[in-house]
Point group: C2
Chain length 129, copies 2
Amino acid sequence: MRIGELSERTGTPRRLLRYYEEQTLILPDRSANGYREYDERIVDRVMQIRGLLDAGLPTRIIKQILPCLDKPKVIHISDATPEMIATLELERDRMTSRVNCLTRNRDAIAEYLDAVRGDVRSAGAVARA
Amino acid sequence: MRIGELSERTGTPRRLLRYYEEQTLILPDRSANGYREYDERIVDRVMQIRGLLDAGLPTRIIKQILPCLDKPKVIHISDATPEMIATLELERDRMTSRVNCLTRNRDAIAEYLDAVRGDVRSAGAVARA
DNA sequence: GTTGACCCTCACATGGATGTGATGGTTCGA
DNA sequence: TCGAACCATCACATCCATGTGAGGGTCAAC
């Protein structure tokens, strides 16, 4: 597919698809006329990129973790340098921290919303508690 | 405490503490000489802000969700406008998405790391699975 | 063969979080 | 009283993800 379709299917501006390519997160090939040609699988990858970006990871990090998320993992095991592994461990832990932080705060928001949605009497009861 | 101590205790540059104040995420009072004076509780709050920022939330949103995370929730229930509630619900869902995305990818990284750390035979076994 | 809808490559702009430094006031101990 | 170590404001700089648009090819349909 070409960039327009990918853009629509992923809800991602073309500009960003080109940007992700520039950051070497994706690597479309080109048809004779120079148009980018995207593989079907790239759809999922773009979604993943967006999700991670939205979760606060910079493209530099995403670029490093993407390769080890591909299903046939073993291919990439060979070229795992010690620094690479250290980076991944660190990033894994950072992601865990993020998950914890987000979960904690989301639960608090949910709890608040539940309280607000509850009728006034129950809210008053909470107030007196 | 003054800004220097808060900075050290939270690992946050002074610059950013002032920035968060400018964004009205925190509201220190001032001593006679104009120095910012921070309450003990602000330490946790700053950590929370940093965590949320790191998880990809903009200060604008953080500002909205912080009030409903304070323990005596009920105080803020009264001034909950419908738009406010809608915003919170949306943000709660966005946070859930982020948690899912992060968890998924973190688990994949962890799995990869386990595979890399494991000996070659077990990696081969995974490959054949 | 022209038009419209695609695509390309620049390149400059913006917004948000952060860095850095200039300039100057306050406090406190040597 | 002087100097170090705080603090203040202000302003400009940077990085990164994104927006926007100019100037120009490609191609299919009419």
